[in-house]
Symmetry: none
Subunit: 209 residues, 4 copies
DNA sequence: GATGAATGAGTGTTCATTCAT
DNA sequence: AATGAATGAACACTCATTCAT
């Protein structure tokens, strides 16, 4: 769970979510829909409650303030994303490093591309929030999973694992976001994905592996 | 000039800079300072005017609304960034492609890192704005410059220039942003920069160049 | 009901009176008091709310904007005025036309004169508003009532009812307003009322009735 | 001149107009055009100056504040209207009273109907202004002219001239305004005018004249 | 617990008026 | 005299949050 991130990393205004339930899901769903439809600046607590079919009062029982809501939505999203990354990492244990990275790119890319407007809306919603804990927790989880996976590579050459993981992760996650921002899609996006695979493979192979 | 971006992409009116560029500069400076200090959500027209030492009324003579102000600040920032990228591209014409990319990464990285808090603040401010025109104009400029540079590479191997440029640009710009978001700094950031250079060189060399 | 005026004539949204008619009444009362005291140009939403003893926010729950408030105040006023006119018309069914018109003038005059400053304030507030629906709805109601009354006159001579009603209504309502504007009062106003009765009677008698 | 109205009647904020000139005319013209086009609430000093082709500063040389401008426009309008009424009154000296009143109605009606939108715009603009002096001065002039005319009637029956004049004036002016408010036009307006003549004639004839 | 009416501080924006040039 | 940039008080309206029912 991302929420279990080190206390030190939790933001001052770290939001508390009371408990999970169908109501909370409805609220999450409503929030995402509204973020997609109108963007963060048009998102009001009243509108979220209305669309979720609950009263504002009730919403405030689950989320102590608006930030907490947006935080929680992103937390859940990143949780799921991290799970998928972890699953992929487990699945490819023991394979050649190049194949691992290709699988990683595929997983990340597909997850992000599945619902592009949700991805975009959440990328945007996370700004102006005390999001360091969020990002950090996600980074910790994925870094750990990827490092472990790479360490098990059948062609592991013993080069600096921390540095390699960090580089790959930063490049892959960064490139995907940038591609989104530039509005790539269709053939262009597909080519970029392929090139990214090629680039990462070339990086791993650099020592003549 | 970024301002020459397709009119159709700019739903919001652009500021009509008359003259008094001193005043406009003061307003820009104030805006950036406040974005750095308190973030977009705390940025009010009154506060900007106050800090810039002008009245709100005056501010509204130069910027028809708050959005236009933020737009203009980002536009200027991206203009300057694009200029630096273009300068680097001109400078490295005719060199080996690997050196070009290293120079590009250096330039971009240094520009972004010079004033990290400004970079971070502007990354955040640009959200929730009608920023497609902005990003698109920046992309057009830098893509053109980089494509031209690569075409002049002494070891140009004739592989798909569009695709190569797009990949490099997306990876470099994306990685830098991601690095910022993860809060890398010091030795970690430096290593990442080096790795990025290695990765991009490896990408260019992939065909045994 | 004036509210049943053609929807097409009401570009501005109408207040959705939910309940809490006490609150709405307080707001109406406050609005009228302020209109009387300081005039439309000094009427601010804050001041109305303050005097009504509610918060601005609450006011905006009942009236979507300032115009809607002023519209509603006038609507209520004209509703009541129309009711009185209708009552008089019912009451004088079957009497001689001259007596009818005298009764009509009395009713209208007295209603307007009861609270002269309110009358004046509302006359003024209605300007610069999308008031056609208001005026039209009032006209439709009163015209209908008066036409019906005149048709029942014991000495009905069969002359053009539409034209007669229109003339009488325009003259009476217009004269009263003009008298207000000129600031008539006391004996002068009283004489004018009498003369108006004489004139309307003479008009009805013109064919030697 | 209406401006020569008794000092006591001049409003506290009685606006002062510096001097007449082509500039002033341009300002008047611009004001009226804007009032017709967008109404009082959209009338800003900047817009008036712009349309008049002068600077705001210059406008403030002629009119010490916005009210003064609107006051002056109405003053000029009423001056001209009063002149026409006076001219008619002079012209019909010595004729039968009924013909006088018909001529008066014709003059007033035509002047108001010539440019209906200007008439309407000015009716509206005069609200919320300290307009008592304006109306009073107009009343004094027209009352005097009409009283004098009626006194010279070939069939003068010696009945109370003050009362008669006041009644006729209030009825005629009031009916015209009311007709405007109701949006009468074409055949309806024409019939109303005829009926008004009939009514006023009947009033004058009431003693069997 | 759930509701949603009430709150009121806070914000973007306008525009009459001034005054340095 | 003429200009028009600068001023800043004022206002309509929003919306996160609370709390009586």
């Amino acid at each position: 769970m991302i929420s279990s991130a080190p206390q030190a990393l939790k933001p001052r205004k770290r939001p508390q979510q009371r408990r999970a339930s169908a109501t909370v899901d409805a609220i999450f769903e409503a929030t995402i829909q509204l973020l997609v439809k109108d963007g963060l600046s048009q998102l009001t607590t009243t509108r979220v409650a209305e669309r979720a079919g609950v009263s504002v009062g009730t919403m405030y029982q689950y989320f102590p303030h608006k930030q907490a809501l947006i935080y929680a939505v992103n937390e859940r999203y990143l949780d799921r994303l991290a799970e998928r990354v972890e699953a992929t990492c487990r699945e490819w244990q023991g394979n050649p490093a190049g194949d691992m990275v290709e699988a990683l790119i595929d997983t990340y890319w597909h997850t992000k591309t599945e619902k592009p407007d949700v991805t975009r809306a959440l990328y945007r919603s996370v700004v102006e929030m005390d999001n360091e804990a969020l990002i950090s927790a996600f980074a910790v989880r994925t870094d750990a999973a990827i490092t472990a996976m790479l360490a098990s590579a059948s062609d592991n050459d013993g080069s600096d694992a921390r540095s390699n993981t960090r580089t790959l992760v930063t490049v892959i996650f960064g490139a995907v976001r940038n591609s989104f921002e530039r509005g790539h899609s269709g053939e262009v996006a597909e080519d970029l994905r392929r090139q990214l695979v090629i680039m990462c493979r070339a990086y791993l192979d650099r020592h003549g592996r």
